[in-house]
Amino acid sequence: MKWKVIEKSKLPALIAELASEYEIFAPVKEKSIVSFERLSSGNEAYLGFRNTKKPPKEVFFPQTEVLFTYRIGEKDVEIVESPAVKAKMMVLGVRPCDARSFVLLDKFFSFGEHKDLYYLEKRKNTTVVGLACNHPLSTCFCTSLEGGPFGKEGMDLLLQDINDKYLIETVTERGEELVKKFPWLKDAEKADVEKAKMLSEDAENAVKSKVSVKDVSEKLDRMFDDPLWDQIYQKCLGCGVCTFLCPACCCFDILDEETEERKRVRIWDSCQFSCFTLQGSGHNPRPSGKERMRQRIMHKFNYFVKNHGESFCVGCGRCVQECPVNLDIREVVGAISTRQVE
């Protein structure tokens, strides 16, 4: 059966049962911040959020990740590989935009000759349970980026909030397997499915923000030297809010740590930081905010499209919400799309 239902009151019991098999990550509310955290006895999943402050990418791509540890001996070095995966994992309550970001990240991390095992292994081992978006925010523009508030891409199961119940839609085989383990889940009634369909349509219509990325990609080809960049970057502070909170952005730095246990780690890095491309010689190919801003926009709407066939943005609106100076990516894309270029 493709459709099941679960009463909201029974969800905690279901999560508790799943916890014996999976390491579960779910939105957790701490003061004003909702972010994905490992569920333990000390916290509980919070599904009343609009969208989480931090995206779920950190489940697969944590801010600091140990690549390996090593010991330096008298005359020798010994490397101890850190296994990427320890347990079966589950991410629960992922909004459709964020789930779509997994699809983009999958493409990126498996691209080319060398695969990024740290991401891919965790991803392979993880069941994604999505949560449809009945009330998109005013900053959401997922529908402009091949997604939607009830989108299923990147998920194994999709939960849809139909008042007192969640309608469970199975998306993949893995999702189906999972559902089978809980025979007590009731089959959905026709009315439930119809109700969800109605909510889905309402939600779709509620995404008012539109961004025209289609022609932007092609246009950016001819806009590398456009004076527009001189204008739009001016107010950018060069902080990492937009990139760190972006569900897709995944640039990183690799460092050796000075702790007693020696580690090589990778940490999030941002193309907006001034030292990101600074070379040892002192030369910096992206010396000012202009080039860095251009890199971010180009990467999302042109370079990634060329390499992977779609934009590197899912329209979650986090960068719009959180930018300290209200530099709105929707306006930037808008300015590009209406720009006259030869």
Partner: protein
């Protein structure tokens, strides 16, 4: 690379001391040649002036797991470079206040003025610092790698 072991059988604090070349280092020397007894817990870094001690040095030492830091220089007015210690004094005041405000135990960061003639004072300063640090126990706050990386 300086390696600091924090966990030993009988715990003995490791204290990093920055001593100004002109006064405190000579003071420590005097304590030594006068056969004054003081605990062997300090490791000395000789610096040209207490003004040379960048607050980073102090913070870095705490991060690397030193149980305490002692900075010692010339008495005000005696600085070989006229005012290095006076500039340092303000800096240390702010740093110490700030660290303590964050909850770093007061005994972890120590300052003293010890002249070349004050061998006894030097021995007493060290005794005092060691005693305080022993009461505090091994350092944990600000030591890197003690707390695992952020969530998840």
């Amino acid at each position: 690379m300086i390696k600091v072991k924090t966990a030993e059988k009988e715990w003995n604090p490791k204290i990093l001391a920055f001593l100004c070349n002109w006064c405190s280092y000579a003071g420590a020397d005097l304590a030594g040649i006068s056969r004054m007894q003081y605990p062997p817990n300090i490791r000395v870094v000789r610096v040209p002036c207490s003004g040379r001690v960048n607050p980073y040095f102090i913070i870095k030492a705490l991060q690397r797991g030193w149980d305490a830091v002692l900075v010692s220089g010339c008495h005000p007015g005696d600085c070989h470079y006229i005012s290095g210690n006076l500039v340092a004094r303000r800096r240390f005041a702010v740093l110490k206040d700030l660290l303590e405000y964050l909850g770093i135990e007061p005994g972890r960061v120590n300052f003293s003025w010890v002249s070349a003639a004050e061998g006894e004072k030097f021995a007493n300063v060290v005794k005092d610092v060691v005693q305080k640090v022993k009461a505090l126990g091994p350092t944990k706050r600000l030591v890197k790698g003690v707390v695992p990386y952020g969530k998840p």
